[in-house]
Amino acid sequence: MASGPGSSSRVVIRGNGSLNGNNQPLYVINGMPISNRPSTVLDQANGATTDLGDGISSINPDDIESISVLKGGAAAALYGSQAANGVILITTKKGSRQQKGIGIELNSNFTLGTINIFPEYQYEYGQGSQGVRPQSQGEAISTGRLSYGEPMDGQPSIQFDGVERPYSGVSIKDNIKAFYRNSTNIVNTVSFSGGNESVLYRVSASDLQSGAIVDGSTYDRQTANVNLKAFMSDKLSFDTQIQYNYEIGNNRPGVGYVGTNSAWGVYLLANTVDITDLAPGYNPETGQEVEWQHVNQATNPYFARDRMGNQDVKDRVIAQGSLTYDLLPNLFIKADFMRDFSSWREEDYYPVGTAFRPLGTYRSQEELRTRSNGRLIANYNTTFGNGINLTAMVGGNLERDILDVSNLIGSEYIIPEWISPVNLNILAPSKGFYRTGTNSVFSSLDFNFKETYYLSVTARQDQFSTLNPGNNKIFYPSIGGSMILSNAFDLPDVISFAKLRGSWAQVGSATVDAYAINQLYGFRLGGHLGVPVQTSSSAISNPELRPLTSTTTEIGFDAQFFDNRFGIDFTLYSKINQDDIVSTSIAPSSGATSTLLNVGEISNKGIELLLTGNPIRTSVFSWNVSYNFAYNKNRVLTLAPGQATGNSSLLGKDSSTRFGRSYEYSEDGIRVYNSLSGYAMLGPTMPLGIGVPPYTMGFENTFTYKNFSLNALIDAKFGNQFFSQAKQYMWRFGLLKETLPGRDNGLTVEGVDENGDAFSKDWPSSFMSTYYNNDGQYATNFMIDGSFVKLRSVVLNYNIPVEKLNFVNLTTAQISLVARNLAILYRNSDHFDPEQASDPNSNSQNFSGVMLPRTREIGFNLRIGF
């Protein structure tokens, strides 16, 4: 969660398989898929980029009974193309017949987040440019984000507002703490559950109220959930769940390039300015923004926080029902239906007085989204021969997705301070309606011989609406087998259980947006002076697109030793995605900038290891320990001809590789300079690092002593880097220690010129601001190592002995202290949290903008059942 509660998350199972497609897994609730499309409002031009959460961010954790992960092809038959990136299966809590009367459970959770990491700046030279402090208010504004002035001497010096203040360092830590607050998150859930012979039910209601570290930014969510299972006869049962969500986001923090992103001002303010002097950020009489520096897109952070705004409201209903009928004792048919419907309304604005949009802007977006799945299956089970058990299943599935979007974009408020689309000089509506569908048939056969030998065979065909008839179908099979060695053979006593398994599975899919195979034209709203004007797209459509396939081969074993005290689970896998549909950039001189091609081939190969232990197991004390390790090697094997060559080609490299240009070096390794300008020449484009960490691991310990339990999770990732735009700007603006050399007496650069002749240039100290600003081009300076070891979570539980509390009728009571992101035990990243990469929707994860600081969260949880 990059920007606080209710924002999007990113999960990828076994590496990115597609260059442009969504690589996140399918989320399945009680057997049926939900929509997880993120709601990110991206409006780079106006600087308003806000993360409004995704589908999974609105599921209440207190309603979840269990979560399991299907990797590889295990989900191939049932979920098909939707499951090409794996499946996260969520089972929600249900009623129980064991419950006597109505079971009531209350859960309260409170956490507080504090900023835990700060950059390190230089505090030797203060605000200014060319070695001189500001001499006037105009110069103080022009150099508002430049720390290339004189040595700090504490003397009164003019600042952006015309006020003189001491020319001495203001710690960035103090500025960050002064601008941001602690985040809060409060969740209360109540549930009622019970059951009898014919009905099981669970009803819950939940309320979440949270505040981000940015003052005034809140996200509230109310959830109601009904889960009902009815046994209507001994052959017919009905299962339904309806979840209703009501979510309100207010002033969600901007996370994009400048504009609403307050972090730009907080992090990039010159090092002798106290951020609180920028408050309130506007003139209370005129509403005009008070500018702290001269690039007015980089808004005054107080103005961004308090005067710009956004609101969003989402109503979401996830309704599912299934009917199961036993035709015969060993043959049932089951009909499933799920519709995930959401209505989402978002509005954001810049008020009159915004420095770079002085007349104000307005935008609203309304989205209606549905994902509907209907599925019918027949399942037959029999035992024959000499102990062979067979389960045969055949079924069909229809999926339909609709996204219906209406936008209003306007500007120029007529009456200031009244934010409404009816109060604008310019207003333009737009409309989008996107439908996709997939029709599928599938079957599976599962054999089981004496609960020792297992064989499973599946087959499925998907047909996609987004491709042209003729190449819109794909058939794909899978086969898997396993053997329980501990049943088949007489193994030594130390081995309590041992199993070997292997599988080969294909999944087809079509990662194409609706209508992308058609070349489409629109019209300019209102034409031009009475003449209609047609518009076009700079992408060339490709009607020949066909489905892509993902093929996973894996073998593994798991074993338990010493009476299940120690266990090992090991998997070796290879996942190859072929015919990946890649949005391929093409040279604009061809008349277009991109097209879709079935050209990508990406391989993910890796190992997964899980070690578990239960070294101490007594009635009063137990210790459980587990360690998991995964390594994934991602390689791009095939690309379009135009992209398979050249310095920035991904061919043969990890698909999350970041490219950039750095210094040019001669054959002898000497830096080459442009003799005209005296700056180092830019070298060729080259790989700078990979964004997705190949090594991940986790180490978890749980200690239980009587009514206490302590759980601690350490996790670690290694081997990734990201480009930090924040560091690039900090460097360019003279905030970093790297920009100190030469400030006192100038800097001499030496190397060779374009012709290979010796070159040197003396840069006077007054040129250091332009010299280091130019460093912004050499990307290697701004790559940050993403490796870390973190104490991810610590949870201390105390189970209150309710049986001793006779005065209340409690069945359970538990109080917990909860801490997340508690400490970074190892990092190699300067200035930032190594997990700072910004956009959860980015496959490559190799870029970070100027982001909100990350937090450490500490809180408590109370659970009472009666």
Binding site: A230, T240, L323, Y521, G646
Partner: protein, 542 residues
């Protein structure tokens, strides 16, 4: 929270009711049936789903041609927010800024904006090519084809003028599968452009259909298109005076013989409206306003720190040019009350020095900036080819001996036309005949001057008369070296204190069309920098 509890109660009540009547399975079944049947998306066939109800699948040539024209006429202002306007108008010392970030042309400092013109390929040029592909095989559409061919030359000559060797013959063919077009020499491109103009102009047939009102220049008048083709031919031919004088002479004579734009009503221009459709407001005015002068009443703290340049304002004052008072204002305190008013009085106009300032000077509000009711008027036109320019081209042809008319008469007609055209920008742009004639009397054509003196006078007049047509001013300055501009030398500038002579081809070409890009890069041997030159530039290494 109260709402949720109510909801919960509702669900619980429902449960009680169901239990009471013990027909839960009937309700359940009914629900399932209702949900399934209400969802008629399931019954539509897959291919029906993939039709976008909000888009059209065919090119309508006239409507897309309008789009190409609207995108193309002001590309340097509209593309990349402010595009190359900052580079050219500052480098040509008509505008200046105290900003570093926007100071590419002012300080030769930041080259990031110098790459954005390339996008004309995948926008205005691509649309025009789609139009050509639809009309080219239909003999009845010959007038549309000719107009589109001439318009293509107009856009392409700018691309090659700012970038040198570029893809031309193989460009714009992505729909035919060519994703990596070869680069052509500027010489070959110029030869073909001149031929295209000649052939397209000759192919017009007034009895056949035209683009009609969708032709934003001339409403389908083929005779005017012929004059535009010849005027462009004259502009292009004159570009070659330093590198191929023989070719220049032949094409200039051909253009003049064919007939160029002489009368005001033949000016190629697109009109705009000050209305609620943002795209129909003059894009040059809109971008100057939005990017810099959006709050002119304040008169201070312009967004990009922009003002008119000292060089330009001083020239207008020194020559007593009446255009000064219709394009330039200083915002002063309102003598009758609150706020500011603009003042066009000559004596208070002053330009800001180029490349001299980082940071807003204390006297920033005392410098001149664009007139709110002419240069910044949403309702003003964009002038693409004017009789002021053609007359200056004729004057130059005359002093070269390629035109039998009088250089003096052509020059004076150019001055008159260049002043009359400001009336198109609004009533406050009207310059009286007396003022025009007084200017001519004060600055007579140097009939007795040397060739160089005459060329300087003509080119300097072009610098003033084509104000806002940044591309042409920049190209003409590179060819003639007039007006004489003193480069700035800002600390840490990237050109070694020389005025930029080219724009930069963006990295997308190096990355996606590497072999062809490198072939042209190595062939020209001038790099891909602001200081690189193009073939017709006299400074191009030969």
């Amino acid at each position: 929270m109260r709402k949720i509890l109510n909801l919960t109660n509702l669900f619980l009540n429902q449960y009680d009711i169901m239990k009471k009547y013990s027909n839960i399975y009937k309700i359940g079944l009914a629900m399932a049936v209702v949900v399934m049947t209400s969802c008629n998306d399931f019954t539509d066939s897959l291919s029906d789903l993939n039709k976008n109800p909000n888009a059209y699948e065919e090119v309508i040539p006239e409507f897309l041609f309008s789009n190409s024209m609207l995108d193309g006429v002001a590309f340097n202002f509209t593309n990349g927010a402010d595009g190359q306007h900052f580079i050219f108008a500052q480098a040509m010392q008509q505008f200046s800024t105290h900003s570093e970030v926007r100071g590419t042309g002012d300080k030769y400092f930041n080259e990031s904006a110098a790459r954005s013109h390339w996008a004309v390929y995948n926008t205005a040029l691509a649309d025009n090519e789609r139009v050509i592909n639809v009309v080219k095989d239909d003999p009845n559409s010959i007038n549309m084809l000719s107009a589109a061919r001439i318009w293509k030359v107009y856009m392409f000559h700018i691309v090659t003028d700012v970038h040198g060797d570029v893809p031309y013959f193989e460009a714009l063919k992505s729909s035919e599968g060519n994703l990596q077009p070869k680069y052509d020499t500027q010489e070959a491109i110029y030869e073909d452009m001149l031929n295209e103009l000649e052939q397209a102009a000759a192919a017009f047939n007034p009895s056949l259909p035209t683009f009609g009102p969708s032709d934003l220049f001339y409403g389908g008048d083929t005779e005017k298109w012929k004059k535009l083709a010849n005027s462009l031919m004259l502009r292009l031919s004159m570009r070659l005076t330093e590198v191929r004088p023989d070719v220049a002479e032949a094409w200039a004579k051909k253009a003049i013989a064919g007939g160029v734009i002489i009368n005001d009503e033949d000016i190629a221009k697109v009109n705009y409206l000050d209305g609620q459709i943002a795209d129909s407001r003059n894009p040059k005015a809109a971008n100057l306003l939005v990017q810099d002068y959006q709050n002119p009443q304040a008169g201070v703290s312009n967004t990009q720190g922009g003002k008119y340049a000292e060089t330009f304002i001083e020239h207008l004052k020194m020559t007593g040019d009446p255009r000064l008072n219709v394009i330039s204002v200083v915002w002063i305190d309102n003598p009758d009350g609150d706020g500011y008013v603009y003042d066009t009085a000559t004596n208070i106009q002053r330009g800001m020095k180029n490349g001299a300032l980082f940071g807003e000077p204390e006297d920033f509000h005392t410098y001149s900036e664009p007139h709110p009711n002419t240069v910044l008027s949403y309702a003003s036109p964009v002038l693409t080819m004017t009789n002021a320019e053609t007359n200056l081209l004729l004057a130059e042809a005359a002093i070269r001996g390629w035109y039998t008319g009088s250089a003096k008469a052509a020059y004076e007609d150019a001055v008159r036309a260049g002043m009359r055209q400001w009336a198109l920008f609004g009533d406050e742009g009207i310059i009286s005949t007396e003022k025009i004639e007084a200017y001519i009397a004060r600055n007579p054509f140097m009939v007795e001057g040397s060739f160089e003196e005459k060329l300087e006078q003509i080119s300097t007049q072009k610098w003033v008369s084509l104000f806002l047509d940044n591309y042409e001013i920049f190209a003409n300055w590179r060819r003639t070296d007039y007006p004489t501009l003193t480069p700035t030398n800002y600390p840490g500038n990237i050109t070694g204190g020389t005025i930029p002579r080219r724009l930069i081809i963006p990295d997308t070409e190096l990355n996606l069309n590497e072999d062809n890009f490198m072939e042209a890069y190595n062939r020209q041997g001038v790099g891909n920098l602001l200081t690189s030159t193009v073939w017709w530039d006299p400074k191009f290494p030969r």
